[in-house]
């Protein structure tokens, strides 16, 4: 089922257009990343679909309308910063979340264990370090065992250990079959955790699709020889060649990152293909991301 459909969402803050005609879908079980630089509209998007902000135009629908006006009871989310009652401890704060979610699951031990806060669960929130606050926020999203989880920059401000811990937790959650929506400007993170990604820049959707196809370490090659048609046929038989496309005057093919160019070149020669043109580009992740972002 379509967990979430977003249709032509737009929002401005005064003269600043934060979102323009944003449209996408998230299906059940996907780990959906919203990737973009700061100011691209990620948090605004999350704010709107969680009814914290009101859009100027467009609409969205959760769970195909199944839960009506308040789908958030079935969604666990953190937006921007972890927000809790400072003078209450972890258990008491989670109790409030449970109360709002009307869940009957009174035992938080499992959740607190998972985020490694069991030792400090009776200390007031204001005594927590940023990492602990972030972890409590993740714990809070799990209360009531919702099917959909939403995270906004979950590793923001954490030290390397904290970042690694959080990413592992999120990966585990994603792999458990829950639908996850994650906003981040860290592309590495999205690549590791997400199955699908929407790339945003200045409120516009730049690219959307499975992570593997949009962001990859693939090698891109341009090849040309005297007989491009048979070259094309040959390339299609090659295991490590992911795709081929005839461009004007050459073939553009995408190879798996493990391909050895020297070996490949030699094999072509042995098969009788004399290359007239060969360009090898290894798309580095960041370059590709920046490239997508630059196209405007």
């Amino acid at each position: 089922m379509n967990i979430l459909t977003v249709d032509q969402l737009s929002k401005s803050y005064g003269r600043i257009q934060a979102l323009k005609d944003l449209t996408f879908e998230v299906k059940s079980g996907q780990a959906f990343g919203i990737l973009g630089p700061n100011g691209s509209g990620k948090t605004t998007t999350l704010g709107i679909i969680l009814s914290i902000l009101k859009q100027d135009a467009g609409k969205f629908e959760w769970f195909e309308g199944q839960y009506g006006v308040n789908p958030r009871l079935h969604i666990g989310s953190i937006l921007e910063t972890p927000n809790f009652y400072p003078y209450l401890n972890a258990v008491e704060n989670l109790e409030i979340v449970r109360h709002i979610k009307k869940s009957s699951e009174k035992n938080f031990d499992d959740i607190l264990d998972m985020v490694e806060l069991s030792q400090r669960k009776y200390s007031p929130f204001y005594t927590y370090s940023l990492g602990m606050k972030q972890r409590l926020a993740i714990a809070a999203t799990m209360v009531g065992n919702p099917d959909v989880l939403i995270f906004d920059e979950p590793t923001n401000g954490l030290d390397p250990q904290g970042i690694a811990d959080v990413r592992n937790m999120l990966k585990m959650i994603a792999q458990s079959g829950k639908t996850v929506i994650m906003a981040s400007h860290i592309l590495d993170e999205v690549e590791k955790i997400c199955s699908h990604v929407a790339i945003m820049k200045k409120g516009h959707l730049m690219a959307i699709g499975p992570v593997g196809s949009i962001l990859s370490n693939d090698i891109v090659m341009e090849l040309s020889c005297t007989n491009n048609t048979s070259l094309m046929e040959f390339l299609k038989t090659q295991e490590l060649i992911k795709s081929t496309e005839m461009k004007s005057g050459f073939i553009e093919c995408i190879a798996d990152p493990s391909a050895d160019i020297a070996v490949f070149s030699e094999r072509l020669f042995q098969k009788g293909f004399i290359l007239l043109h060969m360009v090898v580009r290894k798309q580095k992740l960041e370059e590709e991301f920046l490239q997508i972002i630059k196209e405007s």
Partner: protein, 267 residues
């Protein structure tokens, strides 16, 4: 109920709220005993009027009104501003509360605090009246009360809803509390006496929200002044009916604007 229980979970450890409630509960019943030092002058009422029926309703009410204004009104502000500054109002909605439920929770809190305040007032006035009225009979409890208990309740609701309203409009606790005090102590009286009166020297100068709320439990001495109105042709106070109507309207306005504020604003 569900919403009230949630608010309790949120605030039962909030030191400020607990302090305000404690100050009211433990000080308010006894403030009137200051009048035990009263020395009667000719033309002024006797000390017994303060402590016995039916005067005790008015005097304890007036004494209590200071506590309601100062301690309880702040509760109305704090239950909103603390949630705004901790961003927990936003988080409550994210977690799954509807904006309407959030508002209702706050409304139930101020109603409950008003009931509590009124209960303390009722019990303390009752006990003091019984112990200090000469020749006490049970009928005396019900004579001349002029619905004091209901007026007291409305007055509390007035201060609390004003606090709630300011908390939502201003959203920052320091500024909201400052505005609360400044408006009640200075602004409204100034507008009424310095501006309104200069334009219309007319009873309508009393038709202001805070004044009406105060006049639900006014200083009983002023009521004596008003009994000379034939001489001065000027009434200082609203009568109870006027005060009640205007207070009800004011409370309604504060609560409606508060509701709209929660429903409409970006968080």
């Amino acid at each position: 109920m569900h919403l009230l229980g949630l608010e309790w979970k949120k605030f039962r450890k909030n030191k400020l709220v607990l302090l305000l409630l404690a100050l009211y509960t433990f000080l308010m019943p006894f403030a009137i005993f200051v009048m035990d030092n009263y020395i009667q002058m000719p033309g002024l009422p006797q000390k017994e009027t303060f402590f016995s029926f039916p005067g005790i309703w008015e005097y304890q009410g007036y004494s209590g009104s200071w506590f309601s204004f100062l301690f309880l009104g702040f509760i109305g502000v704090v239950i909103i501003t603390s949630e705004v500054s901790n961003k927990t109002m936003r988080q409550n909605i994210l977690t799954g509360m509807t904006r309407q439920s959030f508002y209702l929770g706050k409304l139930y809190v101020i109603i409950t605090v008003s009931i509590w305040a009124t209960l303390i007032y009722f019990i303390s006035a009752l006990l003091i009246g019984i112990s200090r009225t000469e020749g006490f009979t049970t009928e005396m409890i019900f004579e001349g009360h002029q619905f004091a208990v209901l007026r007291y309740f409305l007055m509390n609701l007035g201060y609390l809803s004003f606090g709630l309203f300011l908390g939502l409009i201003i959203r920052r606790s320091g500024l909201a509390i400052f505005t609360y005090l400044a408006y009640i102590i200075f602004l409204e009286p100034m507008i009424r006496w310095a501006i309104h009166r200069n334009i219309f020297e007319h009873r309508s100068m009393h038709f202001y929200p805070m004044n009406a709320i105060e006049d639900l439990m006014p200083n009983p001495a002023f009521r004596l002044v008003d009994s000379f109105k034939e001489m001065t042709n000027f009434e200082l106070l609203l009568n109870y009916r006027e005060a009640t109507v205007i207070s009800l309207i004011s409370v309604a306005v504060f609560l409606i604007v508060s509701y709209l504020s929660i429903m409409k604003k970006d968080m």
